[in-house]
């Protein structure tokens, strides 16, 4: 099994290990699957060494907090964050203009 990634200029290949994966984990409040969660052809997941390497740096505490929230609470938090970011950008721009 080979995964392909293109960076635009070249293509490189990373071997991946196919494993069975059965995500029977809970779905969240307000989320209803429209079909069985694990359709047969979606059962193969790949252990990608690149992704596995990136996974080590993921802050799981934040993800756990997010998973405690409802979908709407997550979206609201995201929008609040985006508003705050926009405000910071504006403030930074104003400060640069003053200099």
């Amino acid at each position: 099994m080979v995964n392909r990634f293109s960076t635009g200029r070249e293509q490189w290949h990373i071997p991946a290990i196919a494993v069975d994966w059965d995500c029977t984990g809970s779905y969240d409040r307000g989320m209803e699957p429209t079909a069985p969660l694990n359709p047969k052809d979606d059962k193969i997941e790949y252990l990608d060494p690149v992704i596995e390497a990136y996974k080590k740096d993921i802050d799981r505490t934040m993800l756990r907090e997010n998973l405690k929230k409802t979908v709407q609470e997550r979206v609201d938090a995201f929008i609040d964050f985006m508003k705050a970011r926009e405000e910071c950008e504006r403030a930074g721009e104003a400060a640069r203009e003053r200099r």
Partner: protein, 161 residues
């Protein structure tokens, strides 16, 4: 900033058939990454294209990054002749996708969706396993971090807490 609320309200008010994909779908599943645009896969049927046109018409959609003055008409025929549109609107950025790499069209993605209520509206969103799969299939190095987070989310969900 993209007004996700109003874009979704407009699309659902017209009963548009669409699936939320991309970064906003990641947010819905609990990802902490931000995104600038709303990515949706739409059903490419004449009726649905008309609904999309009606829903977004007041927001004056225009191809994102294109020079002003192009003969771009926001009408059903325009959507019929194209597939994927990256648009700037008065409400922010929206990507209308007829199909996505590794996932296919609206009808092909439908079995891999979850129904949810966001902003008080019922929508379809790509489920987490499929979202990981399509991001993986796109193979963009810039997505590696986002994929890793989605995979970590999947792990967190499947582990007993």
């Amino acid at each position: 900033m993209t007004n996700f609320r109003e874009l979704i309200e407009r699309l659902t008010a017209e009963k548009t058939e669409f699936i939320i994909v991309g970064g906003f779908a990641g947010t819905i599943h609990g990802a902490s990454r931000s995104t600038q645009d709303l990515d949706i896969v739409y059903r490419h049927s004449p009726e649905n294209l008309q609904r999309i046109v009606r829903a977004l018409e007041p927001c004056t959609p225009y191809p994102r990054g294109a020079p002003p003055g192009l003969p771009f008409k926001w009408e059903r025929q325009t959507l019929e002749f194209g597939a994927n549109f990256t648009l700037a609107t008065k409400l922010g950025f929206i990507d209308l996708l007829e199909d996505i790499t590794g996932g296919g069209t609206y009808l092909q993605l439908l079995p891999f969706t979850i129904q949810l209520t966001v902003f008080g509206r019922d929508c379809l969103c790509l489920d987490l396993p499929k979202l990981i799969q399509v991001k993986h299939a796109a193979g963009r190095p810039k997505d590696f971090d986002a994929i890793a987070e989605l995979v970590a989310l999947r792990d967190e969900r499947s582990e007993p807490r």
